[in-house]
Symmetry: C2
């Protein structure tokens, strides 16, 4: 865990501007944004990937998604639209091994989603 | 609500093969698949879009995501990878106005996600 960059961001060891910083959830802007707004929302708890989440994490997952909703509203993305993406595993494009939710907005999105 | 195609699928009025059909969640294959496996996971409850979900839906949202996890495991997508996508609003590509989660797997995915 000590090598996890998202754990270091959550703990403040790596300082970043946080859009959410509460007991369970931390949110900050993606360093390689793929849209005018591109925010990563993570649980403070280290979970390597979504596939490791079970019934015991149901509440936490609900909080992550609702945090995305609140941010979208705050950033006025809810009027036009926003896309949420979770990549699980290498073939899906997961590159940081701490569960994270992508919130993207501010432009039109294409289909398929990557 | 009577005109909602996903409500009709959930109720059985429109028959489709269901991969999940429980008290809260229904899952079935997308008619226009964008990957070898492309499944839609919906709440039985009619919610027009994710932005309409609030704290009272936290548990339901947790169930939707965990249902995706279980399906991914069943379909052996968890070994390679899978991508979850929720489109909220027209600019994000939402085309059916009943909250749904896309589970995509069986191929490599590109970035950006659409």
């Amino acid at each position: 865990m000590s090598d996890c960059i998202f754990c270091k961001i959550a703990s403040g060891e790596i300082p970043v501007d946080k859009l959410i910083d509460d007991e369970d959830v931390v949110a900050f802007r993606d360093l390689n944004p793929q849209a005018p707004e591109h925010i990563l929302i993570i649980p403070r708890q280290h979970l390597e990937r979504l596939a490791h989440a079970d019934e015991s994490h149901s509440d936490l997952i609900g909080k992550l998604i609702l945090a995305a909703n609140k941010l979208a509203k705050k950033l006025k993305l809810d009027e036009s639209g926003y896309r949420l993406v979770i990549n699980n595993g290498e073939s899906a494009g997961q590159s940081v091994w701490h569960l994270h939710l992508h919130l993207l907005g501010g432009r039109d999105f294409n289909w398929p989603p990557g």
